[in-house]
């Protein structure tokens, strides 16, 4: 996690830098004694986190935040508790630490930022998966385009030039390949367990030796795919 420090007091900059040095994943990229220099820097560079003093001459911390189009996460550092309410107006402000900053209080702040960054990564991955796969797709059956709800699919079976799509409501025979349909299915929900079968892992009823019971179908699991299947199960 890259961060910058903005504080007009050298003592504060030194203390925050020292506190950051205790965290391997926290990398202080730049240190600024005024907000204007930091704005110039941020016009050219990105950062994950800013330690920002509120009380600075000419251009205070809140003035600074208002200049940022896409602000990163910000931890406010200040000698006054009086601005805390104002801080709630900004979504980018993760925490508000009153100086002198104690190591244990600093740790809590960093944990908050890490939590926020993890949420962001998870949300991005989910959005990406949705964009890649969507909630449904269309198949061409007898010159009709039929919408298939992805969540309703429990089994896909390859048979020669065709695939059988088995859903909660209906089964379809489609002229396609397992590889093509595999690209349309989200990885977190579907798994290829055999060269001819893809299953929806959420619909598994039980697993016995080298076969899976899914709805009413018993599907073979190949030896090479079994470890991945076992890894994906929420085993007690």
């Amino acid at each position: 996690m890259n961060c910058i420090i903005i504080d007009d007091e050298a003592t504060s900059r030194t203390i925050i830098g020292e506190l950051c040095s205790s965290y391997k994943n926290l990398n202080v990229v730049e240190v600024f004694s005024n907000a204007i220099e930091a704005i110039k820097y941020l016009n050219q560079n990105k950062t994950d986190l800013i330690f920002l003093d509120i009380h600075m001459p000419d251009f205070n911390g809140f003035d600074f935040i208002r200049t940022l189009k896409d602000p990163p996460y910000i931890i406010l550092t200040t000698a006054d508790a009086e601005f805390a309410i104002q801080a709630f107006e900004y979504d980018c402000i993760v925490d508000y630490i009153v100086k002198p900053i104690k190591p244990e209080r600093f740790k809590k702040s960093i944990q908050k930022v890490e939590g926020k960054l993890n949420e962001k990564v998870t949300a991005t991955v989910t959005d990406k998966e949705k964009q890649q796969t969507g909630d449904d797709f269309y198949v061409n059956i007898n010159k009709r385009l039929i919408k298939i709800d992805i969540q309703s699919i429990y089994l896909v079976e390859a048979k020669g030039d065709y695939i059988y799509l088995k859903t909660d409501h209906k089964n379809y025979t489609v002229h396609s390949t397992l590889k093509k349909i595999e690209e349309k299915l989200p990885d977190h929900m579907f798994l290829k367990i055999h060269r001819s079968y893809i299953i929806n892992i959420n619909k598994i009823i039980d697993i016995e030796d080298n076969s899976v019971l899914i709805e009413k179908d018993i599907v073979p699991v190949s030896r090479s795919n079994r470890p991945e299947l076992m890894k994906r199960l929420n085993l007690l």
Partner: protein, 106 residues
Amino acid sequence: MKEQANLNYINSLSGGDKSFEIKLFSIIKKEFKIEKNIYYDNIKSEKLKLCSENVHKIKHKISILGLEKSYKIAEQHENNLREGNSALQDKFSDILNNVTNYLNKL
């Protein structure tokens, strides 16, 4: 009786790293001297709002040295100065002298 400064906070930061302690003391001494001089200049010129800004910076150093009672006086002095009131000036000057003496001994 003058309040005694302590190094508890600095020790908690440094974890025994003497080179960091030396570096931090050197910065505090240098910065405190500058801030104190600017404060007195502003007091002389009766620029009380600017004085309150100076006290704001100085009070952080007072808290770093563990001077809790002095910090409260500094905080009150800062607020008063913002309102154009310098009634705590003498008390604050005593605090500045106390900090100066302490830093000079380090």
